[in-house]
Symmetry: C2
Subunit: 338 residues, 2 copies
Amino acid sequence: MAETLKEVGEFGLIRRIRELLEKEGAERSPDLTVGIGDDAAAFKPRPGYEILLTCDSVVEGRHYLPRFMTPREIGRRAMVLNVSDIGAMGGRPRFALVSLGLKKDTSAGVVEDIYRGFLDELNPFGASIVGGNVTASANDEFIDITLVGEAREGRVLRRSGARPGDIILVTGCPGASNAGMQLLLNGLASADNPLVAGYIRPVHLAREGAAVAESGRATSMIDTSDGFLGDLGHVCEESSVGAELILERFPISRSLRDAAALLGKDPCELFLGTSDDYELIITCPPEHVEAVRSAAAVTYAGPLTEVGRITEPGKGVRLLRADGSEEVLSAKGWDHFR
Amino acid sequence: MAETLKEVGEFGLIRRIRELLEKEGAERSPDLTVGIGDDAAAFKPRPGYEILLTCDSVVEGRHYLPRFMTPREIGRRAMVLNVSDIGAMGGRPRFALVSLGLKKDTSAGVVEDIYRGFLDELNPFGASIVGGNVTASANDEFIDITLVGEAREGRVLRRSGARPGDIILVTGCPGASNAGMQLLLNGLASADNPLVAGYIRPVHLAREGAAVAESGRATSMIDTSDGFLGDLGHVCEESSVGAELILERFPISRSLRDAAALLGKDPCELFLGTSDDYELIITCPPEHVEAVRSAAAVTYAGPLTEVGRITEPGKGVRLLRADGSEEVLSAKGWDHFR
């Protein structure tokens, strides 16, 4: 019964998507002057706000696993990683553009469910899909999303503001997503395992990011989409600083410890390594830690852990152990070509 | 000698792209507050301007043919189609985000040349690439571009403003791109054929589009990326109108006539049919045709031909022949899944 894209055609599909967005999407924002259905969308920017632009793509098999995820979960996941990027700058999502590369024998209903996944993440912000395109891809399906956000002028929080002496804070427990994926791929856990669930249905902390940025007390922020060490490395590189991490402070959850045992891995390596979690790394001077905590706590109930501090540049990222030994860590995040 | 992406890695590639953009890209715009190298880019919108958003993706083999095109030409073509969309709304390009899906054995130099192609089209506008991502794709390479433009508030020109009685104008000779591609694929012409050259190195009319929009005299505008009839169909649908076209007025170029003979096709069918040219279809009341011509003529030296007029809805798009016969055309543009 399910109609394939070959049967409904590009324009038929676009019509169905438009209908779905009108019915199930957020109410049209008054500052959107041209929505879907033209060569480009248009909006009037709000005075006093900067515009944020981010894009991220996911490729079937590489970034999502259709055999373990429903189309709606695939859509949610693809949108979450973009929402997280906007939040990590201190902004709120407003408008999305979606490019899909789809096989001809994909059913139109599957595409609609992917869009429902997008809306699950956009609707709570009143954000809407204002454009995009669908194209045929012979082998690899892909989803590429551009998300446009806004942040109050002067409150955009960059990677490059970390200063020696700043405290390094991290939300939640990075590494969980990778551990969940490994458990899933190795048949060691099912969808009711919290790490597997976290991998399939990740949660962004965009509201917390925006609140922290608006507090004006943090010096830098980034989301952990490349893994804790990879992303802390980005902060160090862009801020021209080093960092020291205190191993015994790592917020290793019980679930991550259990997963590490099942996978035969060191839980600290899972914490540090490549993993596309959407936690936030935040730096701020010691005297502002409480203000940052208060800002995040309005919507966030999870742990915000001090895991180390920013140092002068030159020594890279060092790991300090309880026994006084230390190690220089090489900052390697998730690299798509290696 | 050429290093592959597997050898340079994702972050190595990103570093090379950033260096190339700093060296060969447009000078950094003062309203860009965060450029490449963060979770998102940020800019301060100019007061009195609306923001335009468009995205379009091209997939290897389907939208571009690496065996006939250099990487730089592939980059130019992918950017031209986005620049054209911004121009067709009456805007000027400002910032681009680029997502690339690349095979691991692609050389980093090829990627740099694709980026040079992007810059060839962006630099003349002082527009810059402010973000994006690269990801591995196993089989099909793709380029997905989001282009952000701006247009003076209230001067954005939509598809939906055409009114019965308006004149339909078209630039150049749509259909040329498809004919060029067919000649190329069938080995009937080489790169010095003007239609083949036009297919490989298309030219946008974004400056003309912006000038026409700013004149305030046109009622609708669209670029012919789906083919003349497909795009006129979009205008009719969005404007809830019909159209009549006068066959003998079609601006069939000598080259298109020659190509039609070689391909054994009717030149008028090539003119009407699916083809990704980047000409503009413009509608305006009869008394404003001269003003529209004057606006376009500041930068445009090609033909701007009156090919028909907008009619009341209900009769679709009709083709009138010199012998008094007429035919209802079914508006079918380039459909990616058929």
